[in-house]
Structure formats: structure tokens, C-alpha cells
Amino acid sequence: MPDTAIAEAPAKVATGGNILQIRNLEAWYGESHILHGINFDVNAGEVVTLLGRNGAGKTTTLKSIMGIIGKRTGSVKFNNQEIIRATSDKIARMGIAFCPEERGIFSSLDVRENLMLPPVVREGGLPLDQIFDLFPNLKERLNSQGTKLSGGEQQMLAIARILRTGASFLMLDEPTEGLAPVIIQQIGHTIARLKKEGFTILLVEQNFRFASTVADRYYVVEHGKIIDGFANADLAANMDKLHTYLGV
């Protein structure tokens, strides 16, 4: 499917108004041209998953939206506001939160400090008691050094700290990477609950079996372009294609 067709196609599973609109997004790491014209939309209240092989450009897409990549061109509109030239702190203050693949837990901060680090950018963030309800382990480890937590706990902390901020649009980069199945299940429940609470989520995943439990729609990224997109309801029909795309 050509990029423009995806860009112009209405969302197949629309649960709300268009919150993110990306057109012809290109990005570079130094001299390396990584994204070659990404086009897709995300609607309010839905979970959209970017699938693709390693190095396809999924993480770069999230970083480009967040404004933490050296050079980017094209158009990224959030709530109809152009943010392609905005700095990452301004983008965060507009209500976009990013949970990086490497989790970004700070070793010089304890769990409480890590949790309280991102400032509240707007009303509507989850209060601490709700966060501890979602992630009870964190409450018991508040005084531990952030990087002394297990991988699963660090992932929970990385998600928990952006829920406080009031951001309504969450970008989660491979939240299940390297985690035990029971923790993956817990993160799946958390994402489902966040969706129920009205958060819009853009997820990057290689594990489409996990993604299928939470996603409304998928886009497939390859060589820095969106090459396909379909709704979760059409997943079974697209399974063969998906195996080819992902090489699994």
C-alpha cells in the first residue's frame, strides 16, 4: 500500500477525533537518512501499534514526534497544532509523554524521585494512589535506587512516571522487551486499563501477539516508511502478510 493511500485513508477504527496527524515525516541521525516520508494518523482514545523489524524506523518515528532527533522535516500535528519545529520540552507540555525503549531510569535518583521527576504539564494525571494501584511493587520500593529494580519493575516505573503528568497521549517504545511473560501480561492489563481511562497510546512493538491484546490498529514500518495498515479486527486476515513483513 503506498504511503499516500494510508495517509489519506480514514482511520478504520476511529474511537474519537484525530489527535495526531503525521505527513511526510523524514528524519536523520547525522548523515543517515532514517525516515523517508512517514504518514499516519492516531485518533483520540485508541491504541495504535507500529510494527516492524529491527531498524525499520519505529523508534525513530516516536523520537521524531517527541522532537528528540537531530533533524526532521514534514508535518507532525498534535491536536491540530504543528509541532515539527517545537522543542521536546514544549511538546511534552502540550500533553505528549514518551517512555523510551531503554526505560531511562535515573541511577542517581531513588524510585520516589524517578516517579516524581516529570513535572505535571496539565490537569488529569493519575494520582499516586491510582498509580500504586496499577503498580503495587513500586510502593514497596520507593526508597530503592531506581536502577536497582528488576527489569519489569523498571518498566513499570518508566510507565508510571508519565501517568502522573496529565499527558493524554502516551508513546511507549517496546514496553515488553526482555520481560518475563507474567510481567508482559501485567503491562498488557495496564495498557488496557489506561485505554479505558481515556488515554491515547502509540505503541511500538515487535511482539505482535502482545500487541494484538491491546491494539485497535496497526501500521507496519519498513525502511523508514509505512508500508501497510489495518485494524485489529482484520488481524487474522492479514496474518500471512504480517509474518512476511516481520520475518517470523
Binding site: 528528540i68 522543542t87 511538546i91 514518551f98 516524581m116 521527576l117 516529570p118 513535572p119
Partner: protein
């Protein structure tokens, strides 16, 4: 015995200046990753600003303690915005060379106008005189310098280690890109941090003015020892800088009593030993 106590006091006073200056250097290195060779010149500027405030404006020592760090801190922030910020991501050597050049220019300008001899700065009336402690005579001003420096050092440590602002600073030292993506204006925070570090140097300069007189090269004489203090304490370590600053001042003072010939080199001998045993410094962490 009186001589030993007197040298201990001198050591504590020198240690106060080492601690304040190395603390500023540690804050700047931690946040900006710049080895700020201009620190000595900015310390000297603090003393000169206090001198100008008194001689030109009649503004006394107590106000100078507040105003001089603010003025020199603003000067530092202008340096950071116009020059140092462009060094982000480059090798440490560039920052070292640039700040060394700034130090030479600042010192050269002051030397051109004021020569090399010291300008007098009187001890404020409230801190004149001394107290007989029984075992030694304590000049009040010197006691004030030690206590005030300790309070400022601990307040800075508290700010960085125990407050939300400090958490931002520590986090931005580790991963400024992610901290900025949380909505925090990291470039502005870096500028303010440089201003804070420079302000601490200027504060040390004001404290030093009544003891050491106001001289264009007063910072150049001190800065090499202060760098040795920072290396021994561990680059970027806040508490390490404070403890090492005071401890080395005392060790230097004791050396002056027991073996005066080694008093100018003892800090550097210790630096070599620490680098051989623990290259990251006594409280520093490996990068």
C-alpha cells in the same frame, strides 16, 4: 601548641575556600561536563565587585555577600549562553581551552587597570576583633568564614541532593535529552547551574577579600590547588568536593606545622596517590 592550633585554623579557612570553589566546579562539571578553568578569575571578580561596591557605591560587606555573587553569576550566565553552550557534545579539551582563555582575558583586563598588588578591603565592624578560646586566639572574621562557608556548602548539597530542583539537575546530568522530553527546559537549567557555580566562586571571593586583599591574580594562585581538590574528591561529586575541600585545607595546615617544606606540595602528592589507587576520586563514580 598555639602554633599548631593557629595552623589548623588557617587550614580550615583555606579549606573553606577550597570547598566553596571545588563545589562550584563540581556542580558545573556535573551538569555541563565542562572543566571550568575560568573559575579562579570569577572568584577574583567576586572580590573586585565587593571592592567596587564599597569604594564606589558605599555598599557594605553584608550586601556585597548577596550582590557580588548575583552580578558575577549573571556574567557567568552570559558566558554560558554566548560561548560555552556551543561546546555541548565536544571533547572536554575544548571547554578547558575556552575557559582557560576566558580566565587569561579577565585576569589580563583587571591586571591592566589595577596592577598586581592588592587593594585593601576592611573587615566589617561586626566581625572585627577576636576571642580567646583558652587554647588559642580566634579572630572572629576567620571563624565566620569557616562557619558561613560550611553553611553555604551544606545548603548547596541539600539543594542538589534533597530537592525536586536537585533531582532535575541530577537527572539532567545523566540523560539531558530524556529530562527535556519530560517538559523541563534543560538549556535554561544548564545556564542557571553555571550561574550558581560561578556565584559560589564569587561568594568565596567576597569572603576572601578582607583576608587576602583584592588582587587580579588571587584566583590564579588558588585554582590549581582547587582542581587538585576536585580530582581527589571525585569530579562531579558534591559531598566529595565539600569534605575533600575542608580535609585538604586541614592537611595542608598540619603539614605547615609538622613539615613546612612540603606544605605547598602535599595536596598534589595526595592527588597522585588517589589517582593511582582510585582514578575516579575518593567519592567519584566511574563514567
Amino acid at each position: 601548641m598555639q602554633a599548631l592550633y593557629a595552623q589548623l585554623l588557617v587550614g580550615l579557612i583555606n579549606g573553606s575556600f577550597y570547598a566553596l570553589l571545588s563545589l562550584g566546579l563540581a556542580v558545573i562539571f556535573g551538569m555541563l561536563n565542562i572543566i571550568n578553568f575560568a573559575h579562579g578569575a570569577l572568584y577574583m571578580m567576586g572580590a573586585f565587585v565587593a571592592y567596587f561596591l564599597l569604594s564606589l557605591g558605599g555598599i557594605n560587606y553584608w550586601w556585597a555577600l548577596l550582590i557580588a555573587p548575583v552580578i558575577v553569576g549573571i556574567f557567568g550566565m552570559i558566558l554560558e549562553r554566548t560561548m560555552l553552550q556551543w561546546l555541548t557534545g565536544l571533547d572536554h579539551l575544548y571547554g578547558l581551552l575556552l575557559t582557560f582563555g576566558i580566565a587569561l582575558i579577565v585576569q589580563g583586563v583587571f591586571q591592566n587597570y589595577f596592577g598586581s598588588s592588592g587593594l585593601p578591603y576592611a573587615i566589617p565592624d561586626q566581625l572585627k576583633g577576636g576571642m580567646n578560646l583558652g587554647f588559642m586566639f580566634l579572630p572572629i572574621y576567620r571563624g565566620w568564614v569557616v562557619v558561613f562557608s560550611l553553611v553555604v556548602c551544606l545548603a548547596t548539597w541539600f539543594l542538589i541532593e534533597k530537592t525536586q530542583l536537585g533531582a532535575y539537575l541530577r537527572a539532567a546530568t545523566e540523560n539531558p535529552t530524556l529530562v527535556r522530553a519530560f517538559g523541563i527546559n534543560v538549556p535554561r537549567m544548564i545556564t542557571l547551574t553555571y550561574g550558581l557555580g560561578v556565584g559560589l566562586a564569587a561568594l568565596a571571593g567576597v569572603l576572601s577579600a578582607p583576608i587576602n586583599q583584592v588582587r587580579p591574580l588571587m584566583g590564579a594562585d588558588l585554582i590549581i590547588v582547587v582542581f587538585a581538590v576536585v580530582v581527589i574528591g571525585g569530579m562531579g561529586s558534591i559531598m566529595g568536593s565539600i569534605i575533600t575541600g575542608f580535609a585538604l585545607g586541614v592537611i595542608e595546615g598540619l603539614t605547615k606545622y609538622f613539615y613546612p617544606e612540603a606544605s605547598n606540595t602535599v595536596v598534589f602528592v595526595l592527588m597522585v596517590l588517589v589517582l593511582l589507587v582510585k582514578p575516579t576520586g575518593l567519592t567519584g563514580r566511574a563514567a
